[in-house]
């Protein structure tokens, strides 16, 4: 690989959001390059199962649906924590995004019930929605979207540099002009110089011990921004836990199982969710179901196993044909990994970390300019575009990746044309030198701490303090422990020093950034003395709209070396706060 690679627009991350943005920018005539940790189709986007929300209203149970209904559901789901203008734009754009993907080859499941709408795109039921709105391809929707997106990327000939990890942003004052990227094949740093940069690197699930996320979801894109000391992250304490992850491996079982009519059972094979949620039953929002489940287990209704307590997910009554057609990936996963066939057996489930609502704060145009960095854009799970607030609805993440990706690509292209920013070689050279120095130091140091040990301590701390239930005591303890760990992490050294690229080097390079993110989560959760969506404080169990219609913002303080917290107001003028229709009274 060349040591300097130029482009107009550099995209970091080749999941759905990154590639959608790249396609948009190429269509507008820009020279685009993508760097990615893994080949695009291995991205975590491809693990999404259940579907993508878009208010077509074709299905029998979707009649009279509209993007306004979608908007209201999204805001209720977010517990009034989202940005309503952005959520409105998002809901208005989702239908066109589904149509566009159909043209790119996504084999959407069609209506097939002789209702008169046969052949049109079908929708299934999902949690926290008033209508059946989630479009799907069996239960491999993310996979099919990722295939279509990467096929389109290949069609436009967009260069993809896989096995590349961005380790820092090249900054010219408050403007981003590229990134220093570690070529994981050779272990050497390379300068990718660009007029504008998009970060679409996904969430930070790997900060937690029990997560449905892929092994690559380390939140590195967020660390890049935080590390500049200028960029801003938002709502980091808003972390979603999915009710149905398998025991013990935390593999995702789609909400579509319950959407299609499956339900949760306890140790007595009693269907308990309707006892707590008479209206939404098993399909309340994810934050609510996860809390109900854990409390139900605490009340003595959990199933004992060698891997701890769990509950059951029952889809047997849906029948073999339905499962084989619409839940085939779930079935395959259960057979391969658990040795059970859900056609006639129960699936052991327990809530696990699943989605990062927090991320790089952007404005409605996916742009970071108002939040400290010009020429930088972010989209998808790595961004806090903020349509999810404190709880994301199922089916809204896939929709966000393609809708936000398109907007980010277009806005970045406009920005580049309007500003035609100059590229400064000296900034790139300076940053490359800094990073080479950092790598050299780590390579040469010996007798320091091992990064795998630090990582596993961090995961444990976060899991114990910032899980489904949180309280002041645990969070304060975690904060102190993480500060200790942060100090330790500065003394990381490699256990083995081969001449070639070793997987230990990128681990060592990203560990401090990951602890920074963990600190953001714990600080944000400690300061937010209320319960909203997925953020639940046992010592402050109610939502407090008087004090906390606010978005938490995080910036790295260069003096203390730690993230500091400040706030901005959340605008709720389009849809004022009210009851969600599910959840604790």
């Amino acid at each position: 690989m060349d040591s300097i690679i130029y482009s107009d627009f550099l995209v970091i991350g080749a999941g759905l959001a990154g590639e959608r943005a790249a396609i948009e920018a190429v269509q507008s005539g820009l020279d685009v390059k993508i760097v990615t940790l893994v080949p695009p189709r291995r991205s975590h986007s491809s693990a999404a199962q259940g579907g993508m929300q878009a208010a077509f209203g074709y299905s029998e149970m979707s009649k009279d649906d509209s993007s306004f209904e979608h908007f209201k559901d999204t805001v209720r789901g977010s517990d009034w924590g989202c940005d309503q203008k952005t959520a409105g734009l998002f809901c208005d754009s989702a239908v066109d995004a589904v149509k566009e993907l159909d043209g790119w080859g996504v084999p959407w499941t069609r209506i097939n019930d002789k209702s008169g709408n046969d052949g049109l795109i079908a929708a299934r039921n999902f949690g926290g929605t008033a209508k059946w709105r989630t479009c799907y391809c069996a239960d491999g929707t993310g996979h099919s979207l990722m295939m279509a997106m990467d096929n389109t990327t290949a069609k436009y000939g967009i260069p993809v540099f896989d096995r590349c990890e961005a380790v820092s942003l090249i900054m010219n004052e408050d403007r981003c002009t590229g990134a220093i990227v570690l070529d994981l094949r050779s272990g050497k740093p390379v300068s990718f110089i660009a007029k504008a940069v998009l970060i679409a690197t996904g969430g930070y699930g790997q900060l937690f011990e029990k997560t449905t996320n892929a092994l690559i979801c380390n939140g590195t894109g967020l660390s890049l921004v935080l590390n500049t000391g200028k960029g801003v992250l938002a709502n980091m304490e808003a972390v979603q836990f999915h009710p149905t992850a398998t025991v013990p491996d935390c593999l995702l079982i789609t909400e579509g199982c319950r959407g299609d009519g499956g339900f949760l059972l306890d140790v007595n094979f009693h269907r308990f969710m309707p006892d707590y949620e008479p209206e939404a039953e098993d399909l309340a929002s994810r934050d609510v179901v996860a809390r109900r489940m854990i409390r139900h287990i605490a009340d003595g209704f959990g199933v004992k196993s060698n891997y701890g307590m769990h509950l059951w997910l029952d889809i047997r009554h849906l029948g073999k044909k339905h499962i084989a057609d619409n839940l085939r990936e779930v079935r395959e996963m259960c057979i391969n990994f658990l040795g059970i066939d859900p056609v006639n057996e129960l699936i052991p489930v327990y809530p696990a970390q699943h989605y990062s609502m927090g991320g790089i704060r952007t404005d409605i145009n996916c742009c970071c300019e108002d939040y400290g960095i010009k020429g930088l854009f972010a989209a998808g799970e790595s961004a806090c575009w903020d349509i999810h607030g404190f709880n994301r609805l199922g089916g809204n993440s896939l929709a966000e990746t393609v809708v936000a990706g398109k907007i980010a690509g277009r806005k970045a292209s406009d920005w580049i044309r309007l500003n035609n920013p100059e590229i400064s070689m000296s900034c790139a050279e300076h940053e490359l030198k800094c990073q080479s120095e950092r790598i050299r130091k780590i390579m040469e140091k010996s007798g320091g701490v091992n990064c795998f040990e630090i990582k596993s301590s961090m995961k444990k701390i976060l899991t114990e303090s910032a899980g489904v239930f949180r309280n002041k005591r645990d969070l304060e303890k975690a904060l102190a422990e993480l500060k200790e760990l942060l100090k330790k992490s500065e003394n990381v050294s490699l256990k083995m020093k081969p001449a070639y690229s070793s997987p230990e080097l990128p681990e060592a390079l990203r560990i401090t950034g990951m602890i920074h993110l963990a600190l953001c989560i714990v600080k944000g959760a400690l300061l937010r003395e209320e319960s909203r969506g997925a953020h639940y404080r046992e010592d402050f169990p109610n939502r407090n709209d008087e004090l906390w219609l606010k978005r938490s913002l995080f910036r790295l303080n260069s003096d203390s070396g730690e993230p500091e917290v400040f706030y901005e107001n959340v605008d709720v003028s389009d849809f004022p706060p009210g009851k969600r229709g599910y959840g604790e009274k």
């Binding site: 893994v38 080949p39 991205s43 491809s46 295939m147 096929n151 096995r163 395959e332 040795g339």
Partner: protein
């Protein structure tokens, strides 16, 4: 081999059965150091619980040898990263449990693909070239927006769209192991996927120009290792038979020839 629920959640008590000691051998080689020959590194692991090959490799990397190179992303057989030769057969490390194997376990990188190091191979570059070779995208004049599609046809497309590009088919294929220009089952599957997609307008004769040759459909010897080793159980046998029939027909009757 199917394991019963009861075996997972209520394993036999430890004092009744002694855990197996697994003898794991992993091929180590770094192409950047051509002077050092590849060798099999030996590890012993106690099988104290139900554990996958991926779990074994992660434990080795985290606790013993951080230089060990292998690829893994999703842990759930949807991303295709962790394919490798497990006791001589291609398979996914994440969904292969040690309990399915004898106590001696040998791991090699997939053949056919370029070796990056140890168990890691470069599938990304090969597959991207395959997309370009098959023009792996919808070819449509696209003047009308027609959302009406037959659900059975969409289901059939999804069936072939499920490929996770792990490379097991190519690694197990006799032709691919003799000829590195062979399009492989993955490439033929991609052709079939667009061939049956009602939204794609390419004709049989256009497809003949792409795969109607020895490096394409007619290079396949029908040993069907691809069918046997596909971790997603994609129906390769039927797909290849369909494609061969169509290509023979196009070869004989095609207007362009």
């Amino acid at each position: 081999m199917k394991m019963l629920m009861s075996q997972i959640f209520h394993p036999v008590k430890e004092d009744m059965v002694k855990n197996r000691i697994l003898k794991i051998e992993i091929m180590r080689f770094n192409p950047d150091e051509p002077d050092r020959m590849p060798f099999m590194q030996k590890y012993t692991v106690e099988e104290d619980k139900r554990i996958s090959i991926l779990n074994v490799l992660q434990n080795l990397r985290d606790n013993e040898d951080p230089t060990l190179r292998f690829d893994a992303v999703c842990r759930s057989a949807v991303c295709g990263s962790c394919a490798m030769m497990i006791n001589g057969r291609p398979g996914l490390a994440c969904r292969t449990y040690t309990s399915e194997l004898p106590s001696g376990i040998k791991l090699h990188p997939l053949p056919f693909f370029k070796l990056i190091g140890d168990l890691s191979v470069d599938t990304g570059t090969w597959f991207r070239a395959m997309y370009e070779r098959t023009e792996s995208w919808i070819h449509s004049s696209g003047s009308t927006e027609n959302l009406y599609q037959d659900n059975e046809k969409m289901k059939a497309v999804y069936d072939l769209d499920r490929c996770i590009e792990c490379g097991c088919c190519a690694a197990g294929c006799a032709t691919a192991n003799m000829s590195d220009t062979f399009i492989t089952a993955a490439g033929l599957l991609r052709a079939a996927r667009f061939f049956i997609d009602p939204r794609d307008e390419r004709t049989e004769s256009q497809w003949y120009d792409v795969i109607g040759n020895d490096e394409g459909m007619f290079g396949c010897s029908s040993y069907l290792a691809c069918n046997d080793y596909c971790p997603k159980n994609i129906p390769m046998q039927n797909t290849l038979a369909m494609l061969r029939r169509k290509m023979i027909k196009a070869g004989i009757f095609g207007k362009s020839r």
